[in-house]
Amino acid sequence: MSSPLVLLPGDEVPSEYLPATNSAPLRLGPGLRLLTQPPSSSPSSSSPSHVLTATQAGILSTDNKRNAVSIFSSPNRRYIPTPNDLVIAQVHHSSQDYFHCMITPQTPHVVLGQLAFEGATKKTRPMLKQGDLVYARVLSVGLGAGAEIELTCVNPATGKAEPGGLGHLTGGMVFDISTGMAARLMRASSSSSDQQDGVAGLVVLDELGKKLEKAGGFEIAVGRNGKVWVDCSNGGDAAVKATVAIGRCLTTIDEHDLGPADQKKLVSRILREMKIDV
C-alpha cells in the first residue's frame, strides 16, 4: 500500500487494500457497508458475491492487527455515540436513580446511573450538582430510534473505574475541539512514542509536558464527543494561566491543522504571550 486511498460514497473497496485474510473475520468500521453483488451476467464467473462499498467520503484505513477496515471521514463531523466511547458529559439534573447529562448540546440527555461510580453504594453515592463534569464510558446506545443512551463510570464486570480516571472531573476547564482532533488526541495521549513526529502527527502534548514540568505538569481528559478537559493541579495564579494556555494550544492546532514544527512554535509563542516561564 503506497498511497492512501480516498473513497467517495458508492466506491467499491479494492480487495488488495483489505488486510490479508486470516482466521479472524474482517471487522467493518464506520463509513463502510457490505452489499451483495447482483448475480453477474455469466453465472460461472468467480467474482465475489459480496462487495464492500464506502458510504462516506474519506481515507481508507486498515488495521492488520485487529483485521479491521474503516473510513476516516471529515474531522468536523457530528459525534454519534457508540458503545465503549469515552466521553466528557455535563450533569444537567439528577433524578431518583439517574443523573441526566449532556454529551452534545443538541441531542437529548443521556442517563448515568447514580450508582455507576467506583465504590458507590446506596449510602455513599457521589453528589453531583448541575454543571458538574463527568468522564464516562458509553455503556449502551439502545436499539432502534429514540432509545436512551446510558453512560457508566465503572466496568460493570469488575466494579472498578477502568481505565483509570473515570468519574467526576473536579476543577480544570473544558475546551471544545473537533471530533477528528479528539480521536487524534486520544491516540496521542494513550500511547507515548519516541518518534520525531509524535503519534497521529501531534507533538503538542509532549512539548507542553516538557515546558510545563516546572509548573507542576497538567492533567488532560479527552472525550470522543469533541471535548477536552485540562487541569493544572498545582493551584494558584499560574495554574489558571497554564490551563488556558493548553486549551488555546489545542484549539488553535485543531482550527489551523498545524504540522509538528508549527505546533512546537505555537506552544512557545502562546506560553510567551501568557507570560508563563518555562
Partner: protein
C-alpha cells in the same frame, strides 16, 4: 470551459458545509448541512425507521416564495434517494440542508429555477459529504438550454435561458444512471435524446458513448467531466484534513 470552483467546510459551526461557484451561470451558492438533528414535534411520524430530509433554499435578497418551495421539493427527492437514512444514529432524526444564494444572478419571482438547480444540487452534495452523512452514491448534474435554432447551450445565462425553447436539468449518479430529469418548454423526443447524450458527456465524459466523430468534438468543448471535478474537490479536502496521516506514510 472553466469548471466550477468549490470549497468544503467554509463554515465552522455547521456539521458540514460547502460553497460552490459556477463560472458559466455566475451562480454562487453557500450550503450547510446539520445531521443528525432532533426534529421538533412529530414530523418523523410518517417514516419512523428513516431519517427525514429537509431542504431550505434561500434566495439572496428576497424572502423565499413558491419558486423556492418547488425547487426544494426537487432537491429533497434527489437527496432522499441518496441518503442512507437507516444507518446508526439517523432513524427518526433530521438531515437539514440549507442552501443560500450569496452571489450571481438570483432568480426573480416567477422565473425558472432550473438554471440554478445544478449548482444547488452540487452544493447540497458537497455539504452532505463534508458532514459525513452516509450516502449510497454521488452524482453530478447539469442544465442545458435548447435555443430556437435547435442549438444546445450548456449552462445558459439568465438571458439565454429566457430566450430558449426548452430547458433541461439532468443528474447522473456516479454509476452513470439517470437520477433526475426536469424539463421545461416545448421539445420532442429527438431533442431530448440529444440533450441526454450531451449531459452524460458533460457529467461523465464521452467514454461511455459510442465512437462517432460528433461526440469526440464535444469532449474538447466540455473539458473535464463534472464527476471528476467533484471527486477532485473531495480528494483535495481529504488530503488537507489528513495531511498528518498521509505525510507520515
Amino acid at each position: 470551459m472553466v469548471g466550477p470552483a468549490a470549497t468544503l467546510t467554509p463554515l465552522a459551526r455547521a456539521d458540514g458545509s460547502a460553497s460552490y461557484q459556477c463560472p458559466s451561470t455566475g451562480s454562487n451558492i453557500l450550503g450547510s448541512v446539520n445531521a443528525p438533528v432532533e426534529l421538533p414535534g412529530r414530523r418523523d411520524a410518517l417514516k419512523p425507521e428513516e431519517a427525514t430530509v429537509e431542504v431550505f433554499v434561500k434566495p439572496g435578497t428576497a424572502p423565499a416564495g413558491v419558486g423556492e418551495r418547488y425547487v426544494e421539493g426537487i432537491i429533497k427527492g434527489v437527496l432522499g434517494r441518496l441518503i442512507l437514512g437507516r444507518e446508526r444514529g439517523y432513524p427518526r432524526r433530521g438531515v437539514v440542508v440549507t442552501l443560500a444564494t450569496v452571489g450571481g444572478d438570483s432568480v426573480g419571482r416567477g422565473d425558472s429555477y432550473l438554471t440554478l438547480l445544478p449548482a444547488l444540487l452540487h452544493t447540497a452534495l458537497l455539504a452532505l459529504l463534508s458532514a459525513s452523512v452516509p450516502l449510497s452514491m454521488t452524482f453530478s448534474a447539469t442544465v442545458l438550454a435548447v435555443s430556437d435554432s435547435g442549438e444546445i447551450i450548456r449552462e445558459p445565462s439568465t438571458e439565454q435561458a429566457a430566450a430558449a425553447k426548452s430547458l433541461h436539468v439532468l443528474a447522473f449518479s456516479s454509476k452513470g444512471h439517470l437520477l433526475l430529469n426536469e424539463s421545461q418548454g416545448a421539445f420532442d423526443f429527438e431533442t431530448w435524446e440529444k440533450v441526454h447524450q450531451r449531459a452524460l458527456a458533460i457529467c461523465h465524459g464521452t467514454s461511455a458513448i459510442g465512437s462517432d466523430g460528433d461526440v469526440a468534438m464535444v469532449e474538447d468543448v466540455d473539458g473535464q467531466p463534472l464527476e471528476g471535478t467533484i471527486r477532485e474537490t473531495i480528494e483535495d479536502q481529504v488530503h488537507r484534513d489528513y495531511a498528518w496521516k498521509i505525510d507520515a506514510v
